[in-house]
Amino acid sequence: MMINTSRIKQFKENLETKRWLLPALLVFVFALSLVIQQFELLDPYVQLIIMYVGINIILTLSLNLINGYMGEFSVGHAGFMAIGAYVASFLTVKVFPTDMAAWLFPLAVIAGGMVAGVVGLVVAFPSFKTRGDYLAIVTLAFGMIVKSVIENIDALGGPRGFLGMEKLSTLPWVFFWVLISVWVIRNLIYSNFGRGVLSIREDEIASDLMSVNTNHVKVLAFTVSSFFAGIAGGLFAHLLQFINPRAFDIIKSTDILIMVYLGGIGSIAGSVIGATVYTVLLEVLRPMGIWRMVFMPLVLVLLMIFRPRGIMGLREFRWFVPVRDMLASRLWREKKAGT
């Protein structure tokens, strides 16, 4: 018993010391990104691609919350992205004083995310009653409605799009938001609400009967998910400096879906991997011309056949898991042995 306990302790200490590595690494990379930004150390093209990867990670993670963790099938995610993009852009261009735009940028992005989050409720409510393919239609129609509404608002430029944003999305900002989204989704998933989300995926009725207030959980999940999609939209808009409704059509939603299922459902690591692989592969294969668009779907189909849940489906990179959860049973045993 003694030996056993000390080994667990050792394992835990080991894990905890090494655990500092990940946040340290992230902080370091964040600092690095600031330096890169300041001294223009990285090729702007590489920077641009990294920022796309970052934005796509946020999108993928946020959709994974609904489709992967909660097991629904939402297909209109680009609609939330559009809302975030337009709200943030409208703020920096039309509302905030021009010379302050750069300072108020984070506020604009957050506002975009919040509006998207509130609109997320529109989709959360039907999800109380419908599931599966019918909810898919609700989200699909929602995406199309968002596009159509923006097309009809002249103040937003309608189909001509909206421009005038400065290039405020920088490597540090994108990186910062990636960290926030990973952190928020991880902390939510490894909490009571996250367990509620998972239990809805596993068995909604049983979940309800185990006292999980499924409606609350759904509202929370849809709000958080659309909030981050909105954040991604704000970053996207201030990276491209131009947005139009078409940039957020069903094809964009499909792209996000593909990244989620490619990387793997119900996994933060999967989302990071899926978004990175997809974005980078698309860039790297650019010289293939049209054939890259033939090749990519083939990769997707083959992956689905051989790994139906995606690369990291339902598995997690161990350092993303809180110690409390990962070692729950061992720590408990250790405590019992101690007392």
């Binding site: 090729d43 702007p44 093209y45 641009l48 691609i49 796309y52 021009t98 596009k147 159509s148 097309e151 009809n152 309608g158 189909p159 001509r160 799009g161 421009l163 005038g164 944003m165 400065e166 290039k167 996207f236 990276l239 491209l240 400096q241 131009f242 947005i243 139009n244 409704p245 078409r246 940039a247 094809i251 698309l282 860039e283 650019r286 011309g289 049209i290 890259r292 668009m293």
Partner: protein, 366 residues
């Protein structure tokens, strides 16, 4: 920063996505222009001969990919200048990158005024040029043509509400037409990729217009005209430069016979430059060039002419030479950049579709 002893020119084209035919034409014309100049021994820049090297990137008909294609051309391929993208929605994000990277970008076909303007200040961008005229000009040309030549009093418009080009030009047409005494009796919309327009056309028929303006892409025109005729709308149909693809004849057959559109050039009233291009294109690809091809070719022509007069082979020198081009004789007519602007002064032509050809009808000067 630019490397080697070649002139490196990038093309950012819509090879996949929603308008692959545009990208295809653009690429063909670019390859032809480059081959011609290399076959002629290359290009003289500041007293030295250079071969031209071409880099084509697909922007997949997505704004983000358009930006990354531009960025890749600039920093990875280290091009001296970029031609493309063609559609405004892809040209805009790419133009921001070109402008901030100080690399010349010439869009062959983006007719939206905003492409060459700084969105904040509305001042012209320094590095962004185009080879075509702009929508307001074209909208006015068509409106005037409808009022004066067709003597139309009541016009109907059907346009794609989800597409910036169509909507922009439709609105300018409406304004001009109504300011000049006409009346737009129906102003109907559809959404990209629609193929059925019967609802809108039935409504238009009820409004009894004298003419109908269709500022839409050539691939949609045949369907719109056929369906209109089937419903018994027998008025002249008028279009804009987006009609100007040779494919239109194949797609439309007899249905478009006799109608008009404004465009960049007319093959039959062609100058020797144009004739040479048309013949060359036909010989190389077996089809007649459309105006994306002509404008792409002209974009290259503009670049080549600028290169010849550039002080040295360098991005800024190219931009300065381009801005100061005295007069360029292109396939799509003579052009010159307005003082401090990336928009050329050039005329439009009205062509009529006759016997499966685009026939010169009139010229409209700015």
């Amino acid at each position: 920063s630019e490397k080697g002893n070649t002139v490196r020119i990038g093309v950012n084209a819509e090879m996949t996505g929603d308008m692959p035919a545009v990208g295809e034409s653009c690429k063909k014309a670019a390859e032809m222009a480059v081959k011609e100049i290399n076959d002629a021994g290359g290009i003289d820049v500041a007293g030295q001969k250079y071969k031209v090297e071409l880099f084509v990137e697909d922007n997949a008909g997505k704004p983000d990919q358009s930006a990354s294609a531009a960025q890749k051309l600039i920093t990875q391929q280290k091009v001296h200048a970029i031609v493309g993208p063609n559609a405004t929605r892809y040209a805009l994000p790419a133009s921001e990158i070109a402008e901030s990277s100080k690399v010349v970008m010439i869009t062959p076909w983006s007719t939206n005024p905003k492409t060459t303007l700084d969105a904040k200040t509305n001042a012209p961008k320094k590095y962004v040029f185009r080879a075509c005229f702009i929508d307001p000009f074209q909208g006015r040309v068509v409106a005037k043509f409808a009022l004066e030549t067709l003597k139309a009093k009541k016009a109907a418009v059907l346009y794609d509400v989800a597409s910036e080009y169509n909507k922009g030009i439709a609105e300018i047409f409406k304004d001009t037409f109504e300011q000049s005494g006409g009346k737009v009796v129906a102003f109907e919309t559809y959404t990209t990729n629609d193929k059925d327009f019967s609802g809108q056309l039935t409504k238009i028929k009820k409004a009894q217009p004298d003419m109908m303006f269709l500022p839409n892409y050539y691939s949609e025109i045949p369907l719109q005209i056929q369906q209109a005729k089937r419903l018994g709308i027998n008025v002249p149909f008028v279009g804009s430069d987006s009609w100007g693809s040779q494919e239109l004849h194949k797609l439309c057959g007899n249905d478009c016979e006799g109608y008009y559109f404004s465009t960049h050039y007319a093959a039959d009233a062609a100058t020797p430059v144009a004739t040479k291009f048309i013949e060359g294109f036909k010989a190389k690809y077996g089809t007649l060039p459309d105006d994306v091809a002509a404008l792409t070719y002209d974009s290259f022509g503009l670049l080549f002419q600028a290169l010849k007069s550039a002080a040295k082979l360098d991005r800024d020198a190219i931009r300065d030479a381009l801005a100061k081009i005295p007069k360029y004789e292109g396939v799509t007519g003579n052009m010159q950049f307005k003082e401090g602007s990336g928009d050329p002064t050039k005329s439009a032509v009205i062509v009529q579709i006759k016997g499966g050809k685009f026939v010169y009808f009139a010229t409209a000067n700015p």
